[in-house]
Subunit: 206 residues, 4 copies
DNA sequence: AGTTAACCGAGACGGTACGTCCTGTCTTATA
DNA sequence: TATAAGACAGGACGTACCGTCTCGGTTAACT
């Protein structure tokens, strides 16, 4: 029996990286449906145990893979024009969530999260809360700059801004397009904008 | 719900009812995880084909089961006080979505919907759009009654009201409680309420 | 009370014929595997009950279908040369059993017969015994004509002649070709032929 | 937290053995009809895949099970009396084929073989050919010993000996009893026995 | 000619088995 | 000791037939 030399086995962190990458590749190629641990291990030419050793749950793996792909710049710009900055950031996020590999992985995570409260908490902690926080910081800066009314606590407003867009993306056949974002910002600015700068009687609604 | 004219298959209809009920029972007893077609058929003492004959997909079955459980009164009250009516309706919806059997079934549907665009569209068409529409009608009435500004198109606002709450319920560890609803309504009324009636300078924010 | 009332109902008889023909057609087109009652009824555009009303068992249906196709001339020729007559008849039977539709139906019947002793008995009664009997008659005639030894009971010999060929056809990858038939006849004639006419020292064996 | 230690999983060859044994047990207990892969796996407390991993086909599994049960001594005795030796061996084979577990498994294999030419070939290769060969060897020895005529090739004769008995067993309601075996041997000896030793004018035929 | 009972297609129904896929645990052999 | 490979029990998937059972709508025979 001829012993063919097998390739050197990569280990530890390198392996972890490779697995996450394979997960993203699979997501991009075969989508949500192909994201089984079995398929990932097969594609990575890795024993299944090597996956389970690293992540206790498919949700955990997918969350890490999502993080790896989460290269989008989360920090809102601060050009001094709050509306324009939010608009630009929301557009960027929207297209990021739509395209592979983030899109399929995100959907997979959300599906997992429905049956796993821990995954749901982690999903929020590591991704959604981050988005909310980043938005909150930007609007808070705007508030300090006088763009927004000073008499309101914006915490919940930041959640609404994010939530409305996620809702549309995940549970609606409608796209998160410019019209949607503008409509949302109209509402936000109407509610919290400083009186003098906010009124745009010709453009509210949509 | 649109049905074919009138093929009075009483035999079939009885089975269909029973299957939907079993689905809800399973959801209440064993939760999301127990909602396999196999388990439903087994519990109903029915051949699997009897299920597949009626619903091409688990998502389709779950959507019908959801509809069956969806007894919540969707029509917003109209006491003349928009804020109070919305608040009351949102609280009611929230508790309906939290408890079995709607809770588990809803989550299961959403999980299915992530991998099945058709299910996603149907989910929205039959449930979320209904909620949006119902809300839109109430706020439009309020607008005509002078409670809300007359210069805005409220279509998107209605989506935001619903979406923000669904987001919190489905993707967040936070509960949809009175504080959340009040915060949302503050924002909404601040944005669109008629000037004289809306300002509640002491309570905005959360 | 099975009171055979009057002349046969034409409608019924026509249907029966059609079903048998469909069975043969299916056997010829899709072979053994396609011979389910379900498929036959579907192809005949007939309710399954119409099949079960006529035949209690798939085996029963197949046996009737087999009979319908069993057009092969079973009566051995009697040219005065026993060996030649048997040879000719065996060749004819062999090719009949090999080709559709008899081939597939025959195999299907035999498969059914393995799990159903009644079907096995009927199979033998209606087909195999007929072949044995027909052969027995021919060799008995030859015996009376002096072609075969007078001091033997040929009943079992007739069974062996048939059985050896069926064995080869059904359980062996070898074809029932001229060589096989000649070999068999050599053995038979060597055993039972009258001394003077039988010895063919140059041709015995294969 | 130490869970209850599950019994060490039997693997590989041991598992294969167990599965074959379960197949034979089922055959003996519930007969031909109970020999589904599903039932075998259930009885063995084994995942179905564990069966499919080993045998691509039910036929393949049954063939192996048959082999396991095939303990009958295939080698013909050689007491110097060919007729007695063959008789003894045929009787032994006959009763082996009649009783469980070989009986039901054999019938199941033959049923499978009718719809699967590969199974048919394997069935012959591994069982029937073996019987033919063993018989051929014995008669060839007898031929060299002068018991049989020297001027014949016995290959086909060996097939006929086996085939006639299989035919009777599998396709006939008649049993393979002593009379049948004697009749067959009469014919064989009449055909191929050396003249001086063979003639038994009082006993030929059945 | 009207009645009526058998027959019909269509297919629903509870079952069982098929063969495939994935899960999460466990084992083996290699490096 | 970590690994690649994959065996393993379990269970769901969606499909195919089985043989029984309605369901209305013909037919054909006998009033």
């Amino acid at each position: 029996m001829p012993n063919e030399p097998s390739p050197p086995r990569r280990r530890g962190a390198v392996r972890t990286e490779a697995l996450l990458q394979v997960t993203l590749d699979l997501a991009a190629e075969v989508g949500y449906a192909g994201l089984s641990i079995e398929a990932i291990a097969r594609r990575a030419e890795v024993g299944k145990h090597t996956v389970y050793r690293r992540w206790p749950t498919k949700a955990a793996l997918l969350l890490d893979a999502l993080q790896r792909a989460w290269a989008t710049d989360l920090d809102h710009r601060d050009t001094g024009d709050l509306r324009a900055d939010l608009r630009e950031q929301f557009l960027r996020s929207s297209s990021a969530l739509t395209e592979p590999p983030i899109g399929p992985v995100y959907r997979a995570v959300i599906a997992e999260a429905q049956s796993d409260p821990a995954a749901r908490a982690t999903l929020h902690e590591r991704f959604l809360r981050t988005v909310e926080t980043s938005t909150l910081e930007r609007v808070t800066r705007a508030q300090r700059a006088g763009e927004l009314r000073a008499d309101v606590d914006l915490t919940f407003a930041a959640e609404v801004l994010c939530g409305a867009l996620y809702y549309r993306h995940l549970l609606t056949p409608r796209p998160v397009d410019e019209a949607a974002i503008d409509g949302l910002l109209d509402m936000f600015m109407a509610a919290y904008g400083s009186r003098s700068r906010t009124r745009r009687p010709d453009a509210v609604g949509g």
